[in-house]
């Protein structure tokens, strides 16, 4: 399973599913309401330095700051940046 927090910057990804963390089951619904929905394309835009946490994530036309723990709930497939194919 490959999750968004492990992606490179500016790597186009497609959301496969949102996992529900045991310690925070409400995150699943929250992430979905922000637009992190299976099928949507996401891209890591930046990482806070130093430490690389939190992350700047683009989903749709929106930009969100997510913690690595939050991005780790988002399972993704890497896409080809040029063609958008898997």
């Amino acid at each position: 399973m490959f999750t968004l927090d492990r992606s490179d910057d500016f790597q186009l990804c497609r959301i496969e599913r949102i996992h529900t963390p045991e310690h925070a089951p409400e995150w699943h619904d929250w992430l979905q309401e922000l637009g992190f929905i299976p099928g949507e394309k996401v891209m890591l835009m930046a990482r806070a330095q130093p430490g690389g946490d939190p992350l700047v994530v683009r989903v749709g036309s929106s930009t969100f700051a997510l913690r690595c723990a939050e991005a780790a709930c988002i399972e993704v497939t890497l896409l080809d940046n040029a063609t958008g194919a898997a």
Partner: protein, 644 residues
């Protein structure tokens, strides 16, 4: 009762009048955060707004009056922004409760205007679908259509209206005439708002649970049919972010912004402060000349005019500080600052989200503590509330300004900085460092290890609109002035009474105040404060300072004006204390106000936010202990350095 609560009460009274305004249907504005909803609210209602709280919670409630072109009076409610109907915070909970008709003391809205950011339909339309299912007559205000057009997004309003099954109008909330189409709709009968449900291609379902994913699919289908199924990220925002979020350049920029803010508070405010001082002196002289010597003249000049004027004079500084905060907020910079500070805040167990409430606390801890409700995690929220009073609020500026003006020489350091400004900056830093220490301690004491949520939108950058900044400033200024007019003035008069009565016995030789209640009280307190270098005048002034920190200055004015043997009661406090206090005492008092545990308004707000007396008592206790300890150290170090 605190100043803040009183002002909320007073706000409630006129808004209750609006409540009973017959024939005034309630229109609620609903939308995602950052969709320009409040700007639209400002365009519709202008200055006819009432800011109060929702019953039982401390979420800010904004209601305005709107007169339609046909002369119909409407009440417009600006609901807190939300992404969906699964509330993440008390703010979002209010929006959901009001829409469901469950909010205490709140009528269910008669109509709903869904404000939608035209540049981000994909996310915004999901909320429209969810709100529509609630069954309230609703229309969609397609906002920011000017920005959308510039980014190549052209929305077919009629088609979107047909797809959604509700009327859709274009609005540009940043332009005064940007809500014309919405104004026309607000005149239409509620039936027209229901749309033509029969033709609605959106499936109406009785199923109680419609998943976000199902709504997402519906939106996706609508966007495809409108030819808008593409992403149009704001490339300019991305370019700005490359600088603003840069680990080195961005952080340097943030530091420059914050430092400029505090230099400006001192430099820009100088002229208007001079005018207010001159006006106060003019009024005091007029009254002194008009009335014969007696207790009434003493009350007016030494109590009311001196007290109100001495606090009013700092309004310019407060306005400048809020001007900066509002600009940062409106432009979209604040969440970026929170992002960059997330790691720093995380090191003491807080999230970047705590940054915004804490920054607001630099103006006043009360709005700051109330802004903490946007923090989803209850633990983070509590810690943020507990350390908010350590952020140097503007009410402490009068005290700092007085002491710095009297004891710190006015000269340049390193050819570019004012020494006085540097000392002020140092006091702010001292507050921040103490807050970090307390938060770190809280992190060590509470069970942790679980990651806390951040999930914070970084909205596209916008030029702040002068109207929105002006309305924001007006609201803050009126809240501050109400505090001045109400509790502070009342306490100055109480102080005057304590300092004037009882009158000295016949044949007394010392100044009158020595025989007064204030003198007795001050000497009693002085035993506690003597080890940290406070004289009895300071001890007395700290008592009314409990109601509001800035009162300490006018209280000192009263104590010294009355204890001075001369007639010139309008004599400036600055040379007086510069002459009669040691530098060690001044430094100790400055240190005291870094912690300033004595603000009853703050404690009352904490009681309300945390729902009990436990947390305010803990707060008062730890702040007092910390203040006394720090003052003790500073005073004795200063004495050792020969400044005693």
């Amino acid at each position: 009762m605190s100043a803040c609560h009183d002002s909320v009460r007073r706000d409630h009274a006129p808004s209750a009048v609006v409540h009973v305004h017959r024939g005034g249907p309630l229109v609620a504005l609903v939308g995602n955060p950052n969709c320009g909803k409040t700007a639209l609210f400002n365009v519709l209602t202008g200055s006819r707004q009432k800011v109060a709280n929702y019953a039982g919670v401390t979420v800010e409630r904004k209601e305005g009056r709107y007169l339609t072109t046909a002369g119909k009076a409407l009440r417009v409610l600006d609901l807190p922004g939300t992404y969906g109907l699964n509330p993440r915070s008390p703010d979002e909970q209010v929006t959901v409760d009001v829409l469901m008709g469950r909010a205490r003391g709140e009528k269910r809205p008669d109509r709903v205007v869904c404000v939608v950011d035209a540049t981000n339909l994909r996310r915004n339309l999901r909320l429209v679908l969810a709100v529509k299912r609630l069954g309230l007559p609703c229309v969609v205000a397609l906002n920011m259509t000017d920005l959308a057009a510039r980014r190549g997004i052209h929305v077919d309003v009629d088609k979107l209206s047909l797809e959604l099954g509700v009327p859709v109008v274009k609005t540009v909330a940043v332009r005064k005439d940007g809500a014309t189409a919405l104004r026309t709709l607000l005149d239409a009968p509620a039936e027209a708002w229901r749309g033509d449900a029969a033709h609605s291609p959106v499936p109406e379902t009785d199923a109680p649970v419609v998943t976000v994913e199902a709504d997402h699919d519906t939106v996706q289908r609508i966007l495809v049919s409108l030819g808008l199924d593409m992403h149009a990220p704001h490339t300019l925002s991305d370019r700005i972010d490359r600088v603003v979020l840069h680990p080195v350049i961005g952080m340097a920029l943030l530091m420059v912004v914050l430092f400029l803010m505090f230099q400006a508070v001192f430099a820009w405010a100088e002229a208007p402060m001079g005018w207010i001082e001159a006006a106060t002196a003019w009024v005091a002289n007029g009254v002194t000349a008009a009335l014969s010597d007696g207790w009434l003249r003493s009350l007016l000049v030494d109590g009311i005019i001196a007290g109100a004027g001495g606090v009013l004079v700092f309004l310019p500084q407060i306005l400048i500080l809020f001007f900066f905060i509002l600009i940062l907020e409106e432009s979209g910079y604040l969440p970026r600052a929170a992002f960059m500070l997330d790691r720093l805040m995380g090191s003491v167990g807080l999230s970047g989200r705590s940054f915004i409430p804490l920054l607001s606390s630099f103006a006043c801890a009360i709005p700051g503590i109330m802004a903490a409700r946007t923090i989803a995690s209850p633990r983070d929220r509590l810690v943020t509330i507990m350390i908010a009073p350590l952020m140097t609020c503007s009410a402490r500026l009068p005290v700092y300004a007085l002491l710095i003006g009297a004891f710190i020489p006015k000269r340049e350091v390193a050819g570019m900085f004012e020494l006085q400004g540097l000392v002020l900056f140092g006091l702010y830093v001292a507050g921040v460092i103490s807050a970090m220490g307390i938060a770190w301690l809280a992190k060590r004491l509470t069970t942790r290890g679980l990651p806390r949520p951040l999930m914070m939108e970084l909205p596209t950058y916008h030029w702040p609109t002068p109207r929105n900044v002006a309305i924001g400033l007006w609201q803050r200024a009126s809240i501050f002035l109400k505090r001045v007019g109400g509790i502070i003035l009342a306490l100055t008069v109480v102080m005057w009474f304590l300092a004037s009565f009882p009158a000295p016995p016949a044949g007394a030789t010392g100044p009158a105040i020595e025989y007064s209640l204030a003198g007795t009280l001050g000497r009693g307190l002085a035993t506690i404060f003597e080890p940290i270098g406070f004289n009895w005048q300071i001890s007395v002034a700290l008592v009314p300072g409990m109601a509001a920190r800035e009162v300490a200055v006018s209280a000192l004015g009263t104590v010294y004006a009355l204890s001075a043997s001369g007639d010139d009661t309008a004599q400036a406090l600055t040379p007086l204390i510069a002459h009669s206090w040691s530098l060690a005492t001044a430094l100790s008092l400055l240190t005291w106000f870094v912690f300033a545990p004595q603000c009853l308004s703050t404690l009352a707000t904490v009681k309300r936010e945390t729902g009990g007396w436990k947390m305010p008592l803990v707060m008062a206790g730890y702040l007092f202990g910390l203040a006394w300890l720090a003052c003790f150290i500073v005073y004795h170090l200063a004495v050792a350095a020969g400044w005693g």
